[in-house]
């Protein structure tokens, strides 16, 4: 029975691991800590899995556990690089839209979101993942109105960075 559960869990995790990797990229600055955080998130997901009732989608549940691990449980202090190390992000926008300005803007944006605080990062991450405000507010435990207010502030902050 345990083997079966383990098998099912690993299959789901393998399928949805991109979510965890993207969170690791948001919250860590090098490959080692990426791996470290991925490892911790995996353990937390596995520990919480028996309580996963399946009444929500596995991926929705995964967003919550993974983000909670990154912003609450993960203990290692973040080591910021001296320069904006954004090489780990790739810039692939459709060829017809691609120009130097776009690439430059994307570079600045990726660097800017790396500089946000943990909570703002979580908001931006969920927003970029296409989650609606109801999911964002449920994940973070704040009201939908406050999630919107906060998101607008972050948007403004990013816009200012881009126009500076």
């Amino acid at each position: 029975m345990k083997k079966e559960t383990e098998h099912k869990f690993v299959k789901l995790l393998e399928e949805h691991q991109n979510i965890v990797h993207k969170i690791c990229r948001m919250y860590t600055y090098d490959q080692n800590s990426h791996l470290d955080l991925f490892q911790e998130i995996t353990i937390q997901l596995w520990k919480a899995y028996p309580k996963f009732r399946g009444d929500s989608k596995f991926s929705t549940w995964m967003y919550r556990v993974a983000l909670n691990t990154a912003i609450t449980l993960y203990r290692k202090s973040k080591r910021k690089p001296y320069t904006h190390d954004i090489d780990q992000f790739s810039f692939k926008i459709k060829a017809e839209e691609y120009d130097d300005t776009t690439e430059q803007q994307l570079k600045i944006m990726y660097a800017a979101i790396k500089e946000l605080n943990d909570i703002d990062k979580a908001l931006v991450f969920l927003y970029l993942e296409g989650k609606n405000y109801s999911i964002i507010s449920e994940t973070l435990g704040i009201t939908e109105v406050n999630a919107r207010v906060k998101m607008n502030r972050v948007k403004k902050k990013l816009k200012d960075i881009l126009s500076a």
């Binding site: 691991q17 353990i43 609450t72 203990r75 993942e129 435990g141 960075i161």
Partner: protein, 205 residues
């Protein structure tokens, strides 16, 4: 185009060059040990909860009971010990109940609040240990003076204000030191959690 909208458009493309772990590697990860804040709080709390018990056991040798008997505090000491064990047991049960409410699948705010509430139980326990040790120490200090040959005969000549003052100040300094160590330990452990908790809390008020 809005910066964030531009990013949103590009975001999906990130997935193309993300690392990928095979099932084999994921199975291995399940066997690894967690190093989360909650696990550390649990370990440290257990050490702290046993702190009072260990302290009692360590001091309770034959000589101790002999001395207690000499200063006429044997019954009082037995009563104090029984009460303190009962209170400690109560704290352990309460701590365990609170610890069980911590769920990583809750919302971030609730998770952080539950962790902080669980820690609060241990914090109260530490305050209880420190205050009760302070009071007991004071009681022993005064009784030893009362029943020490040479002092007990000249009680009216003693400046009680000075004696009690010295006792209170030394005990307070000792307790303050222990409290400092305690605050530092949790300060380091919970720095990030507290920062993020405040950030979320400030949003709602």
């Amino acid at each position: 185009m809005d910066g964030l909208e531009l990013l949103k458009k590009d975001w999906k493309n990130q997935e193309e060059n993300l690392p990928h772990f095979e099932a084999e590697q994921l199975y291995k990860m399940l066997l690894k040990k967690s190093s989360s804040v909650v696990k550390w709080i649990f370990i440290i709390s257990l050490i702290e909860l046993s702190f009072g018990i260990l302290l009692n056991v360590f001091f309770m040798d034959k000589q101790f009971w002999q001395e207690v008997d000499n200063i006429h505090l044997k019954t009082a000491t037995i009563v104090i010990y029984i009460i303190s064990y009962l209170i400690t047991a109560g704290f352990v049960v309460f701590f365990y109940k609170r610890y069980r409410t911590i769920s990583v699948a809750d919302s971030s705010y609730l998770l952080m609040r539950n962790i902080l509430k669980t820690r609060k139980v241990v914090k109260c326990y530490i305050i209880y240990v420190l205050v009760s040790s302070g009071i007991t120490m004071m009681l022993f200090y005064i009784y030893s003076l009362l029943y020490t040959p040479g002092i007990s005969e000249n009680l009216e000549e003693i400046n009680w204000l000075v004696i009690i003052g010295i006792g209170v100040i030394s005990i307070l300094l000792f307790l303050l030191f222990l409290w400092g160590v305690y605050a530092l330990l949790y300060g380091i452990l919970l720095k990030k959690l507290l920062r993020n908790y405040k950030e979320l809390k400030n949003l709602d008020f």
